[in-house]
Amino acid sequence: MGLKSYSRGKAIHLMLVYTGGCNGCDIEIVNCVISPKFDAEQYNVFLTWNPREADVLVVTGPVTRWNKEPLKKIYESIPNPKAVVAAGSCALMGGVYKNIHGDIPSEEICGPVENIIPVDAKVPGCAVRPQDILAGVVSALPKLLNAK
């Protein structure tokens, strides 16, 4: 293990982007970092809101029309190497908003997240469980740590 991966492994910064889901997933993700029960900080995982500091981008929600450009910009401003975790059924397949076929389909949903930025790990669930989030983030880590 090189010095870079060693130091990266000691401070993994998650950035949470919220693209128009119902809030359920976001609170669960914040919960799994801040709440003493899950306490991801003990595994050197920290929550940040600054894309320049972030290593892992966690995206929730079905990406509404207004959130499409900001999401792309945020993705671009994260320095390499980066990993993207899509969390929740909204982020994976547009969720209930895209797939509940009523008389008028919603034109607001541009998701799933895959259509907009490349995704490395997918965490299913509506809402995602905190344990699954941690597992998802861990499974995306090799991409970060093995990068040159």
């Binding site: 128009g20 359920g24 976001d26 669960e28 709440s35 079905p62 207004w66 908003y97 008389d103 607001e108």
Partner: protein, 382 residues
């Protein structure tokens, strides 16, 4: 920007600080524009609409049962309140009387949800105050509530308890579950009392939040503020007092007088024991009998309205049923009416307190993004 400043540009320098839509200081995406002079906010403007998913549109033409479970996805914080109110609309229209046991279990769920929402508010508020220890403590207590909700509903966020005619069979309460609820309540009550004790005795925190973001009673009534934010300004109004589901329970409506950040936080802290007392009364007197009435028949109805009191204020749903399908749904969430209060609370405060003033009104911008579409037909033609 007021007129005086515009005409007198050299003398007074007014700057605009724009935050958002995605900004480190705010958890949810919304756009906030602050017009500041030195450090003091002269005017604030909140723009929502980024999260608009068009739930009312998607609901159009869905079978009623499906539409009910879709309303749950309006908001991840008060999901139970949305499905409950949506089911109540259908029950009112189809004239269904639900069994008393089901009504009690719905009340228990709603009060548990109130606990979780208020504790989330305390956690989020402390985080904005940059007091991480309090925030972690609030999240720690909240975890117990989440476990109870998961036990009853089977999921930590979207529980799906109410169905037309009662509640889902998997959400019935047996003796084991009731025991777990009452153990959990004892724990929460003790921990919240400790938390409140520490909070009000912390001089630094108290100095930081007293007198910040004040809203007067008059303004609150004028802006149609709802929920604990209204009660913190001294207005004694709680929809639960007139809801028929709550008639069997004995509880106090908490009112405070200042309407600043401190009173807003204290109002929520003081509402927690009241909710705990409602749940205790409900599990003590839980009626026996069936939990779902399946003997109803679908028919067409007029437009039906329903209001309930949810953790953050008054929630309104309305739709009409046509051949078993939903038509013309309207949802009005409490944060929608509280936006005015958020803007007003910012004015006159330091720019560093802006976020605090907004968070004190317990915003949930996800459920706030409701559509109002105004189409000018004449303009379209030319």
């Amino acid at each position: 920007m007021n007129e005086k400043n515009k005409s007198n540009q050299e003398a007074i320098i007014e700057t605009e600080v724009a935050l958002g839509t995605v900004h480190p200081a705010a958890l949810e995406p919304y756009r906030l524009r602050l017009f500041v002079e030195d450090e003091i906010i002269n005017d604030a403007e909140i723009t929502v609409g980024v999260n608009h998913r068009g739930i009312e549109r998607i609901m159009e033409g869905l079978p009623v049962e499906k539409a009910n479970s879709l309303t749950e996805k309006v908001c991840g914080i008060c999901s139970n309140a949305h499905i409950w109110n949506s089911v109540l609309v259908a029950e009112k229209g189809l004239e269904i009387d639900i069994p008393p046991r089901a009504s009690y279990i719905r009340v228990i769920m709603e009060e548990l949800e109130r606990l979780h929402s208020h504790l989330l508010y305390l956690g989020h508020g402390s985080e904005v105050l940059a007091h991480e220890t309090f925030s972690m403590r609030a999240f720690y207590i909240r975890e117990t509530v989440m476990e109870l909700l998961r036990m009853i509903g089977g999921n930590r966020v979207q529980y799906g308890v109410s169905i037309i005619g009662g509640i889902r069979p998997r959400c019935d309460l047996d003796d084991g579950r009731i025991q777990k609820i009452s153990d959990g309540l004892d724990f929460i009550e003790k921990k919240v009392a400790d938390f409140a004790d520490r909070f009000v005795n912390d001089l630094i925190v108290m100095n930081r939040i007293t007198g910040v973001g004040q809203i007067s009673k008059k303004d609150a009534i004028k802006l149609e503020v709802t929920g604990p934010t209204l009660r913190a300004t001294g207005v004694d109004q709680d929809f639960r007092k007139i809801m028929k589901e709550y008639q069997d329970f004995d509880f106090n409506v908490i009112t405070l007088s200042n309407g600043d950040v401190k009173d807003n936080i204290l109002a929520r802290v003081l509402e927690i024991p009241e909710s705990i007392s409602i749940i205790r009364q409900a599990i003590k007197n839980l009626p026996n009998g069936s939990i779902v009435d399946r003997s109803w028949e679908m028919s067409d109805t007029d437009i039906i309205h329903s209001h309930i009191e949810v953790p953050r204020g008054t929630l309104y749903h309305s739709y009409k049923i046509e051949k078993g399908k939903v038509r013309g749904a309207i949802i009005r969430t409490p944060s929608m009416s509280n936006i005015g209060a958020m803007q007003l609370a910012c004015i006159g405060n330091h720019i560093t307190d802006a976020q605090l003033c907004i968070v004190q009104c317990d915003p949930c911008f996800t459920c706030t993004d409701r559509a109002i579409e105004i189409i000018d037909l004449n303009k379209r033609i030319d």
